[in-house]
Symmetry: C3
Subunit: 338 residues, 3 copies
């Protein structure tokens, strides 16, 4: 693809050699003469001057003397768009592998791809163009929408519902039983885990993460929410739209999370917590059972508190030895005075 | 099933319309006219008055004017029992799927179900009515008892022993090598991981959790213990009976845990810790290597300390800025006095 | 194998009955008359006197009156070596199981073993004597070196490169997409995850751990590094040689880790952190985004600080109630003085 064609695709204009052939994308420091890259921010732009890249996406209003560039409002976003055509994922051939086990009572849309050893049980439905990789398991009456990708060994329990353009990475489990017991007569009795689980459109979930079904209600992950590897979502949790949840975070039962919430890695959310829209929680933070976190708050630590409070407490903690020394000093003076 | 039949099954008496037909169970707020639900506690009971439920399990000695109810000593427990007949899990047909690979030298009890692509190696044994779902792997000489359920993609390493009525959710790994090395000559040498692993009766383990085999000894998870998703149990750990371990908790090597211990999510237990019966550890708590936690203690934080100590320290930490201000004030006064 | 033969194999000399037949290895307290065991340190040596073991590896310069022993510079290391011949792992028959799906365009070295249901895609390469267990997935153009073992259900995404003598335990995922998005126009746009992932020689990775591919660069795990269960390694991370990373630790994107670094369990490392050689980080410790940890440091807590600082702060925190009482006392005295 030529530089001028890429510029046209991005509705942008180029500077330099429009006829240059670009064959792929690369990071700024690794890009060669047939690569497209991008530069945002002063430091990246200065490194870009000496980059070997064939073409650089730069912010509107900037320029790079002597380089072939395309100026766009948001270089990183433009890079994503260009990459989607310069380095498309290799789609496997559609069709059902001879070793897949597909129930005659399952319904598959057109151009669905089913990998070797995948299992699709009775009553399950798979939308058009969705790819189920090798070893994927779709339980009875489970549903997956259109244009979704389930990577190898994803397990979807019966009746789970997964939307369109969803990506589930290898080893993800959707719809397993929640963790609920009643203690009586000296042992734990398993509470019914009969509820549903809904993964809405454009959700992505990282490798080996787990999402439990509701006990009697429904577990919901809202549209556009992105979840990293090894994350735990318990039963009856409701997560809103366009949230970002980093690796190894755990969300306990019946937690409600609004839209546009961001959580760092290894965050722990106690049962029945309510987190309003736009909240941000730093890595390893912990929210105690039953708490409500108000809209837009930025929290840190365990128990989580506002970032500025955390910082101030931490600073005082650092100065504690000094404070103790000063109290000793005062006591000595007081003694001398008497 | 009619209300009067359910009451009889529960050894309880009903009030209202005993002939009403009940076809399933539901949560209090979602229940319809053919659903059974339950209410415990004043708030639930008041919501129950306006619930659309066909029949409500309520505590002995309470009543709900104008509603069809069954009074029982423990409504939630009775609900579990009723659900076991009103909403039974769908048992897959017993038998061995044509794509399963079962060694002729494995021994399977009557009515065992083996899903597609499951693998049962030489010398493995599976007890009566146990269900191995699609893609389950049972290594050489591994054993599973009766009436157990191994969900899709569970991996059981050679010689692991799993009891009766055990539930292992999708992606669980039992019997992988523990994490043990000897550092010498500039690199880590793998210590032999030859020991056993025993999962006793009525244990349930959540999705993608991992249980390592012993190095030379044996890893044991005691009867009735319930383990959530993404939990790590290291080599030579011994967990007692009827414990509850929430998601993402990690138990290091050679830890000993008594009976009826409860751990929140993301707890970390250091090597060779000993935790006595009935201990409770709050979410994200950490117990340092080698510690002993005495019977019945409730701990919190890292390093974990008694809950009341943790709370008091936290309260003082919150007041630190104020304390520092007061010390400054005293210093000023002292200076003025001189 | 006779005691004198074991001694010869270890280049060491024995005391006692050299003709005794040894058939296996065991822990000190469990060893019987045909077992080899080892004792290091005063306590183990005193327990060793009354052990039932047929032969005990002891440190050079020590002796155990009346017992058959072999004296070696490093008993635990010698035990590892002896175990490798006394208790070798059972190698499965080499060859490709009839149910495995191997692309005709994949290249397999001699004596490769491929388990039932394993999938090897087009262009993948597997080195001599490597064992791919049941259900392993090797994506297109993925590579595994010689003498490696991939346990059941390991998933290797396309183009990932795995070295020689590597061990990947059940459920490990190598090469899944990193967690990278650009927020624009009200939603998260997936940043291309096109980079590579390299697992160097003699790495071992525990069950259900996940290693993401680079976004544009490469994720690297250096030679001899050992990683426990349920660990998360994000995109573009570079880990050096001979590190040890305990269970449930998470390493965020673009982190650089030197050689011989040791991390406890549940450690969290923020994005772009740089950790120099020989650093040790205690369990549950957290390193904030962008930090540099200098060579040889031992850190603890979140935010992580030097162990001695952490201990001192913790001690002062414990004494805070007392400090507050003393400040109150001073205030009272001051008031009386006026």
């Amino acid at each position: 693809m030529r530089v001028d064609e890429i510029a046209r695709f991005l509705n942008a204009s180029f500077t330099g050699d429009g006829s240059r052939e670009i064959r792929g994308v690369a990071a700024l420091d690794a890009a060669g003469p047939d690569h497209l890259t991008f530069a945002e921010g002063a430091r990246a732009l200065s490194r870009a001057s000496s980059s070997g890249s064939g073409c650089i996406l730069i912010p509107l209003g900037t320029e790079l003397e002597g380089r072939t560039t395309i100026a766009v409002p948001h270089p990183k976003l433009a890079f994503i768009r260009a990459a989607s055509i310069l380095a498309p994922g290799v789609a496997p051939p559609s069709g059902i592998h001879a070793t897949a086990v597909v129930s005659p009572e399952a319904r598959l849309g057109p151009e669905v791809s089913v990998g070797s050893g995948a299992v699709i049980e009775r009553g399950a439905r798979v939308g058009a163009r969705t790819r189920l990789a090798a070893g994927v398991f779709l339980g009875e009456e489970a549903e997956v929408g259109e244009d979704s990708v389930l990577h190898p060994r994803v397990t979807v329990y019966p009746r789970a519902r997964i939307g369109n353009r969803v990506i589930l990475h290898a080893g993800v489990v959707v719809g397993s039983d929640g963790f609920g017991y009643v203690f009586a007569e000296g042992r734990h009795h398993k509470f019914p885990q009969l509820g549903g689980v809904i993964i809405e459109d454009e959700v992505e979930i990282g490798s080996n993460s787990t999402v439990d079904r509701g006990s009697l209600g429904t577990t919901v992950i809202g549209e556009g929410t992105k979840i990293d590897n090894l994350v735990q979502i318990a039963h009856n949790v409701r997560i809103g739209r366009h949230c970002v949840i980093a690796a190894q975070t755990g969300i306990s039962g019946s937690v409600e999370i609004g839209d546009f919430v961001v959580m760092g890695g290894q965050v722990g959310i106690g049962e029945r917590v309510r987190i309003e829209d736009g909240v941000r929680i730093g890595g390893q933070g912990g929210i105690l059972t039953g708490k409500i976190v108000r809209k837009g708050a930025t929290l840190w630590g365990t128990p989580a508190r506002p970032l500025e409070v955390f910082k101030r407490q931490y600073a005082y903690l650092n100065r504690l030895p000094d404070l103790a020394r000063r109290v000793r000093e005062l006591e000595k003076q007081m003694l001398n005075d008497e």
